[in-house]
Amino acid sequence: MLLDRKARITKTENWGSYFLISLATPDIARQSQPGQFLMIKVSSSLQPLLRRPLSIHNRSGQEIEIFFQVTGEGTRLLGQKSPGDLLDILGPCGHGFSLKPEFKGKEIFCIGGGRGLAPVYFLARELQTGGARPIIFYGGQTLSDLPLKSRLEEAGWTTNFSTDDGSFGFRGLVTQLVEKELKGRKPAFLFGCGPEAMMARLAEICQAARLPAEFSLESNMGCGLGVCWGCARKIRKDGKTGYLRICQDGPVFPAEEIIWDRD
């Protein structure tokens, strides 16, 4: 059930262009699943017009957290909010990652590229709660793109870091790091969220390794409710390809259903 709430900001943290905001919103928190997202009104005026989709980064008790990077006017305005401010949010939206009972006791690869780490934290926590063993991969261009580094380390999960410039962790793409790790480990599943090119490459790697996977896709969203069909992307389902709604039929899709946007 989609809920429309005014959530009070209880805490904000900030590293350069990255922000972490905590919101008190008990009933949305209660219903949230990893991979689901919120539609957030960033302005009290008519500009920017549309809500912005942001993944649920974490749930703790009555609160949820969002983690985002400033990429334009909407996220810039969101970054200016302070504790005490009310945010107009709609959620939880969409269908999240498939948390299967058979993951219990198994290693599960969870890959987040840049701001794509947002849903991965919540995912890893829920995997752990379900008895699975999340192995995190967190990649960025440089060390400052890994603001949640210590948060992940504190959680106690096995975490692998990569930076394109080698300023922290593995030097290179996170996809290369995953490939390397796959030589030594045999996870039961892979979940990924990040830039399209990263996910597309991960999908290839998974296919080659016969590793089942799911990815969280992005698309420009009008409503987040499934009514505008603005977020549609080509998806291959039951042998047929057609435009499905990322907001409603996703945002998480099995690797084999996704037709990657190679642009």
Partner: protein
Amino acid sequence: MADLSVDLGFLKLKNPVIAASGTFGYGLEFQPLYDLNLLGGFVVKGLYFGPREGNPPPRLAETPCGLINSIGLQGIGVEAFCREVLPPLASLKTALIANICGEDEDEYARVAEYLSQYKGLAALELNISCPNVREGGKCPAQGTEATYRTVKRVRQASSLPLITKLSPNVTDIISIALAAEEAGSQAISLVNTFLALAIDLETRKPKLGHVLGGLSGPAIKPLALRMVFEASRKIKIPVIGLGGIFSAQDALEFMVAGASAVEVGTANFVNPYACPEIIKGMENWADQNGIKRINEIVGTLRV
């Protein structure tokens, strides 16, 4: 409490607020959010005869106070609509309106004819104004003759009341409105979206996969208001006004300009409760201003 009902002649609405086509899905999607019977009515997504794939993504781009879309009328077609969607909607106590499309006049007529066999529809909204299907954004509502012919043809194919939805991408909205009236349309709705382009400077590509799209939202409100004003003064059939309505005040301005009812589109995306909130706001305004019946204000602009 003010009487919000309006009578379009062929159709009585409990209030003047109709959810606009393409922004309200098939209605079902809003049922978990609020009671659809609160609405004056709603228009479902545009229907072609067969299912339709729609345009390649990206399909949306935001612009200052506006939204460009190029959905391209992705939809399930009339058969699936009548089989799967209509039955649960038919029992609603609100005006259910189908938005009908066609590649040519024939298809428009076939869609109208097919839908007319079913119970539950209060009216057809003839969408001859979508900028997202033909080359370069062209549509029948850009010419008086094509408008006249299409309306006439659909008029003959169906006994359901007909609302013709006009395009704002014209030099002279009055002549098109007159053509629709003359051909037997019982009302007109205006405006559909404005043909627009957004560019991604970094890639030097259009922001939309379909290149051009239709602009909606608050940015177009003053243009839509002008057209409603112009058309409503020259035709006798009622005008349903839309374009950027986000608040009760916006809706009331359209009525003062000459609209007998209004449609709310893009606002449903930003605030899924936009329609019931606008209805409530109109009621409050009427009460505060001693307006007994909301239709008193239609066309009362003091010029």
